[in-house]
Amino acid sequence: MSGPGSLEALLAAREVVVFCGSGGVGKTSVAAAAAVTAAARLGGRVLVLTIDPAKRLADALGLEAVGNVERKVSLEGYRGLGVEPRGELYAAMLDTKRSWDELVMRHAPDEATAYRILDNRLYHNVTSRFVQSHDYIAMERLYDLHASGNYDLIVVDTPPTRNAIDFLEAPARMSEFFGGRLLRWLTMPYRISGGRGARLINVASRPFYNLADRVLGSQFLQDIAEFFLNFQSMYGGFVERAGAVEELLHDRRTTFAVVTTLEGAPLREAESFCAELTSRSFHLGALVLNKTLPDYLLSDDSDRAASALERASDDLAAELAASGDPALAHPALADPAQTARVLRTLGDSFRDYEVVARREAELQAELARLPEVVVRVPTFDHDITDVVGLAEVGECLFAHAGTLHPSA
């Protein structure tokens, strides 16, 4: 069950598992399921840090209240599966705004500066829209939780990004942002003149200001510069911290799991993400193929049966209607025309899903670079809304590696 190539072994060996993938592939559910199952089966204290869970999933994890508080989640649901939970599960949701505020309070040189930053009308925009802001704060929060030493395993769900690699670069970009020559260059005229005018001092940045004045108006630019100036006072603390965050992501105790569906676009993104992780020397631990169709759609037996049911629909319908012993005959099979129609629909529908299953199998076969652990999670015909549902998914995640090419 838990051979070296299993997700179970991976989760047992690591302290941080970061789940990533493009939007809509079920990343949040998979991360939560992995955490639930790790807590139940491996034991210890497991935390799932989630970003934007569906309402019902959030409810299931006891996360209805926003805030950076970690909450204990009942694993009662696991007993229904005949498993006595060994460990404890905690869940936390990322509150980007509050995390940023805390960060400012921590790194600002004094309280007055901190409040000047928090009150700045650009602050909200910078923290909520700066492209890497959510990514950075997620990694920063992870660092904090890991450093607390409260958890044996932390499972992280990453924010939906346009580009899945954004958050890998987030710490480096944040260092660049605060430490960069660019920021000093931009704010130079304001530093020298105490925040007012006198831009001619900086010859290098003059063309930029000329341009910016024409486009944006000078007051606006001055607001920006003053804001950056305040922000820059946090430079030292921030850069040091971003370095530590980066180190944690590269640490031997951290691994990444890429989640995807077997559809063209998400799969392409997952592949490029696997390649990026490897080339940046992050540990690529697992690939999770989520919402896959069942293997029986690919079997020759089923295919033949679908054809036979269509071809012989009238004969079968007649046979089922007459069905020897009238006591056994089902009233819903009494009308041969209706039964024949249903049999043909069965064949049609099978063929529809068979096409999709074949497409999935082809895409899976084309996968080039694979981590040691590749897990298939079947599509569920019900929504995952509680710990029991998560446990079902988790059991698939833990089941076994292999069955990579089920059609063979």
Binding site: R129, L186, P207, L211, D301, A306, A332, D335, V342, T379
Partner: protein
């Protein structure tokens, strides 16, 4: 002001949606449908992944619109190119031979300052619309594959956000006419692509509320993509259940072989998948009062133009 015209008779259609619902496919299909109905269409890719043109089996395009299909031209948004064009054409700033050294500084400010990237994106789109309205650009319809649900409000709200922040200067003057075009229901509509699943439906309901509160851009339609077919009528379903009883299965297996069970299982899965999605569709109907256009799930093997065309046909039927 009379009732808003049919969707395709407007001049500027934005499409947003949660990741993974098929926003780009629906956007491309709308462009194709309009072109097939005789319109000259400009398809704008905003979110920079560069694979929108693949839906027409065409290589990626740049900032300059290029014809990728009869009746459809496409361009990829590039905020720096947009700035350059703006400076050249409208602000008449002469320096712009080499923006290169300033590009990083610009990128930096654009990332951090509210609305700069957005205004350059929306500005370019509005510019193309104004040029078309005044007969200087050929587009009957501009179709924009816009930002995902989480970001589309700030994207479309950029002109007004800039008005709040920038009180003087050329940008301020430029935003007035943009807001006018964007707010006109005879010209513009924001459409939301979704799927009958929990998160996409939640985001759609949230976005409609948020757009009504924070935006003056008129809402168009909600396109529900990947709607699974209803396999059986009520009576048929009773028959289907009867076919799954052991006696009936034995009869089926005698003729069709051991695979008959799998065929029944596959149908069971199809019915359950449809059923688990239908409450989300119902919720969408109840909570959103916009037109819903349903696009069926496509059981096909390939990608590319053929799929785009199938979605366009489905949209065409829904639009009438």
């Amino acid at each position: 002001m009379g009732p808003a015209p049919d969707l395709l008779d407007r001049r500027l259609l934005f499409f947003t949606g949660k990741g993974g619902v098929g926003k780009s496919t629906v956007t491309a299909a709308t462009a194709l449908l309009a072109a097939e109905r005789g319109k000259r269409v400009l398809l704008v890719e905003v979110d920079g992944k560069g694979n929108l043109t693949a839906l027409f089996e065409h290589a990626p395009v740049g900032f300059e619109p290029r014809r990728i299909h009869p009746g459809v031209s496409a361009m990829q948004m590039d905020t720096e190119a947009s700035l350059r064009e703006y400076l050249r054409v409208q602000a008449r700033v002469p320096v712009i031979g080499r923006i290169g050294p300033l590009a990083r500084a610009f990128d930096f400010v654009a990332n951090a300052a509210p609305g700069v990237k957005e205004i350059l994106t929306i500005g370019k789109v509005c510019w193309e619309l104004r040029e078309s309205l005044e007969g200087r650009a050929p587009w009957d319809l501009i179709v924009v594959d816009a930002a995902a649900t989480g970001h589309v409000v700030s994207q479309l709200d950029a002109p007004r956000a800039i008005q709040d922040l920038v009180h003087v200067g050329p940008v301020r003057e430029q935003t007035d006419w943009m807001v006018e075009l964007l707010d006109d229901p005879a010209l513009t509509a924001l459409n939301i692509v979704t799927a009958p699943e929990e998160m996409p439906v939640n985001e759609t309901i949230d976005l409609v509320a948020r757009a009504r509160r924070d935006l003056t851009v008129p809402l168009g339609a909600v396109i529900v993509n990947r709607v699974l077919p209803e396999l059986f009528t009520h009576a048929d379903e009773a028959t289907f259940e009867a076919l799954r009883t052991p006696d009936a299965v034995a009869v089926l297996e005698r003729t069709a072989g051991a695979g008959a069970t799998a065929v029944l299982d596959a149908a069971r899965l199809a019915v359950s998948l449809r059923r688990s999605r239908s409450p989300h569709l119902t919720r969408l109907r109840e909570e959103v009062d916009l037109d819903l256009l349903l696009v069926p799930y496509l059981f096909v093997r390939d990608h590319g133009l053929r799929v785009t065309r199938m979605v366009a046909e489905a949209l065409g039927q829904e639009l009438g």
